[in-house]
């Protein structure tokens, strides 16, 4: 009894040293995001093997995966058509040129109404001859997004039904969102 009442005082006094032993309460958002990350990681790994996921991490509570280039459409389709996952709603797609890191990246943000969560899927390609298999046959809604990424970032999407520039004129040279693009004066 007396030990119990003493206990809080003792921990208070020892707080500076004991900081490592009694970790700070984990942010519930991180906890639930980690659980979602692990769930999806397990599903994808069980279906395709561990090497299709190049990276899996939380980008500020957002479960994110970097998927191997060749497996990109297969993984996206699997996440969409599997009933218990049902990532059916492609909310956003973007392309980025990471020049210093030597690759271009495409970001696809899909939502599942079944799991009530979003997942950020990413795929990388070398900057030269940049190409990522198209997923336009899986989501009609990314057709123009892929065309825009091709136009502005210069990533080709083999398998896309209509791989033309969409914003700039057809005779435009270069891709403006590449970091080494020289802006005309």
């Amino acid at each position: 009894m007396s030990e119990e009442t003493k206990a809080p005082e003792a921990t208070k006094a020892a707080a500076p040293q004991a900081a490592e032993e009694t970790p700070e309460p984990v942010d519930p958002r991180i906890e639930s995001a980690t659980a979602k990350l692990e769930l999806l990681k397990g599903k994808i790994t069980a279906q395709f093997g561990a090497d299709v996921i190049e990276e899996a991490f939380l980008a500020k509570f957002q479960p994110s995966f970097v998927i191997k280039n060749e497996s990109w459409p297969a993984v996206v389709e699997y996440l969409k058509v599997t009933d218990e996952l049902s990532f059916v709603y492609p909310e956003a797609m973007a392309g980025t040129d990471h020049m210093a890191k030597g690759y271009c990246e495409v970001y696809l943000y899909v939502h599942s109404f079944v799991l009530d969560m979003d997942v950020a899927l990413k795929v990388r390609t070398p900057r030269d001859e940049a190409a990522i298999p198209s997923v336009a046959h899986i989501f009609s809604g990314v057709n123009w997004e892929e065309r825009e990424i091709f136009d502005l970032v210069g990533i080709k999407f083999p398998g896309h039904p209509d791989m033309r520039r969409i914003m700039l004129e057809d005779h435009w040279q270069g891709h403006p969102l590449r970091k080494d693009y020289v802006v005309m004066d």
């Binding site: 809604g141 520039r165 004129e169």
Partner: protein, 367 residues
Amino acid sequence: MAEIRTEELLMNIGPQHPSTHGVLRVVVKVDGEIIRDAEPVVGYLHRGTEKLAEDLQYTQIIPYTDRMDYLGSMLNNHAIVNAVEKAMDLEVPERAEHLRVIVVELNRIASHLVFLGTYLLDLGAMSPFLYAFANREKIIDLFNRICGARLTFNYMRVGGVKWDAPEGWVQDVLDFVTHLRKEMNMFHELVTGNEIFLERVKGVGIYDADTALNYALSGINLRSTGFNWDLRKNKPYSIYDRFDFNVITGKNGDCYDRYMCHLDEIVESMKIVEQAAQQIPDGPVMGKVPKILRVPAGEYYAAVEGARGELGLYIVSEGKDKPYRIKWRRPSFVNLQILPKLLEGQSMSNLIAVLGAVDIVLGEVDA
């Protein structure tokens, strides 16, 4: 009787055509009166906002967003400040949040009023346009008083809003809502029951919820199919969870439902404006933010419910004062993709009815 010679004709609608609401070109293949194929051609208004933004500090980007969906500039402002605040974990003062909600919802009403006016104009009715714009003008005047601009407001800042509401402004907002409530009845009397109007929009341009999701449609274009999805409810941001309002959905996913959703959403937005104006507390309108905004290195996606759907921002930051890459998820751009599917097999006279109901703004399509 000799056989009638038929051939497919290639027709250009736009880029300069009053019914395309801007510089949109639609290349249409017609067989007699029937559309066989339609291809929207965009890019005539492309200004490279995403490229420009890479050389700008976050605050400097805000005025550029005004020029994207120029009918919903407040919503565009809100999208970017909301995304940056979420990435930086910044607190916004209560008064600023309320002011934001008021101007954003007023802007949504103004945008829907423009839809109402121009859509009826597209269908050949002149007078609703005048009534709609007369009411929109009152909202524009309110905006003019709070931020000094009528179209490109540049009103919001990361961490709050630039100006507090002038004396009596909040009361005038409440008076306007009372006024617009009465006007809504007039719109319904003027348009909703009109048989010619109904003939042109009922059962035209139908699609179901699965198609809408596959085409990544959002906003009214998605909700008109009966699918209940509104970011203000489903992924609450700002202080929307405090207000009592309904998400308006349609049933059949046709042009008529999209028209009705617009009108009903005006009513719901008025509810939100009213509650926010009644609850607005006193206090500062700018929170404590660093002088130079540096978004921590990483990548972020955050979206708000724009007037036309999900208005999202994807920010890649290297921890500097300028974004490494910023991408707008523009609802008009995404929504327009479904147009060829909707037009195939339709008669030529339905083209404008279908296009108008998709409700695009070319400034946002092309960015």
